[in-house]
């Protein structure tokens, strides 16, 4: 690696537009300050944090340097990332809770049933909202491709399509294989079966992550009208409220199950009590992370709306 490459590598944390404007000056200054010597760890850390901050700023995630539209868009995309985390958590809860009704006494089932219904309805409405946002984005995507900006988004889109294809093929294969397994393998936790399911889950999570990254890359480049941005901002706020509903529903369902059917929740793996199964703890941690990310995005959207009204 040449000396210039070495310094350019250090400023990769900064967004491309920033590097175009200040990159050459900054690498020259780094050369002036450090010469052939190794750049200290503290300086590397400083460049990483400041570069990440500039990146967040240029995306409209922090600061007030960008316009209201860019801030609304950044907030909505943060909510989308929060929703992606929720989809992973929701899938875990869905898988874990299979057949919960059969072990819960009918007399104590009402609270858990109500809570589970909230999770399902909120999840389905949320899915429809994301689908609606994707549909309204299609004309913008077409305009983007016509404007010859396809090379800009080709990488993330192709990666997402490839991952979706692989995950889809794996899903078909896993389902076919699972149906061919003897019933006792499925019921008794056959080790190989478990490993295959975990790998399949990781594949789906990767596909979801790459699809979200592609959606964000595309949405950041689409030129949205102010009206469309308000619509997307509104959808994102409703999505965040639905996430609160899913989280609340999960907690209530969990507590109801712990109260009336604790045997369903597990056998105390990793020194936990029966009512704190690690799988549900992971799902809840993901939900909380998703909720925090979505809440930050929602605050960003609300702030840009308030700021827009103040201008009017």
């Amino acid at each position: 690696m040449s000396e210039q490459d070495r310094f350019e590598d250090l400023i990769r944390w900064y967004p491309a537009t920033w590097r175009e404007r200040y990159g050459e000056e900054l690498t020259t200054l780094l050369h002036d300050v450090h010469g052939m010597a190794k750049v200290p760890l503290r300086e590397r850390f400083s460049l990483a944090t400041r570069g990440s901050f500039e990146r967040a700023r240029s995306s409209g995630l922090v600061g007030s340097g960008l316009g209201n539209g860019d801030r609304t868009r950044a907030g909505a995309l943060l909510v989308l990332w929060g929703w992606a985390l929720f989809m992973v958590a929701g899938s875990i809860v869905q898988k874990f809770s299979e057949h919960w009704e059969t072990v819960t006494p009918a007399i104590h089932r009402s609270v858990a049933t109500g809570a589970f219904a909230v999770i399902q309805v909120a999840g389905e409405i949320g899915g429809l909202l994301v689908l609606a946002a994707a549909v309204v984005s299609i004309p913008g995507l077409v305009r983007l491709i016509k404007a010859e900006e396809w090379p800009e988004i080709r990488g993330p889109v192709l990666r997402a399509l490839l991952a979706a294809g692989v995950a889809g093929a794996a899903t078909v294969a896993v389902v076919a294989w699972a149906h061919s397994l003897p019933q006792h393998h499925l019921n008794d936790g056959f080790f190989f079966h478990g490993v295959v399911f975990i790998l399949w889950g990781l594949m789906l999570i990767t596909a979801l992550g790459l699809a979200t990254a592609a959606a964000v890359a595309v949405a950041r480049r689409i030129h949205w009208s102010p009206r469309m941005l308000r619509v997307l901002g509104g959808l994102a706020i409703v999505l965040t409220i639905l996430m609160v509903g899913v989280t609340t529903g999960t907690i209530v369902w969990w507590v109801a199950m712990a109260d009336f059917a604790p045997q369903f929740l597990g056998t105390g793996l990793l020194a936990t009590s029966n009512v704190l199964p690690p799988v549900l703890l992971v799902a809840m941690a993901l939900m909380m992370m998703g909720l925090v990310v979505a809440a930050i995005g929602t605050v960003r959207i609300v702030q840009s709306n308030v700021s827009r009204r103040a201008v009017i």
Partner: protein
């Protein structure tokens, strides 16, 4: 403040700030400040010289700096007065023992 006497590029700014303020700014910190100041129109870039771009203070930057220095002067005066240092400074200026000679 470093740009008040004339234009400077990154390295010259770092050295100047080190001399008058005793603070060594890392390149990342310095360029964070340059980005903000340029966005606010307080400084402006000049044509690049051998990959080093000098910056100069703008009229609004000079006005903002003047305001800031005046504000600091007010605070310093109030502090001196409350600590009883104001008279020592004025004695120093008139030829009688100054702060430095008291130690």
């Amino acid at each position: 403040m470093s740009l008040a006497p004339g234009p400077k590029h990154g390295w010259a700014l770092t050295k100047d700030i080190e001399n008058f303020a005793g603070v060594t700014l890392g390149p990342g910190t310095l360029y964070g400040a340059i980005t903000r100041l340029e966005e606010r129109g307080l400084i402006e870039p000049l044509p690049s010289e051998d990959r080093r771009r000098p910056y100069r203070i703008t009229a609004s930057g000079r006005a903002a700096l003047t305001d800031a220095v005046r504000e600091m002067r007010t605070l310093v005066s109030a502090g001196e007065l409350r600590l009883g240092l104001g008279s020592l400074h004025s004695k120093g200026r008139s030829g009688t023992p100054a702060l430095g000679s008291l130690s």
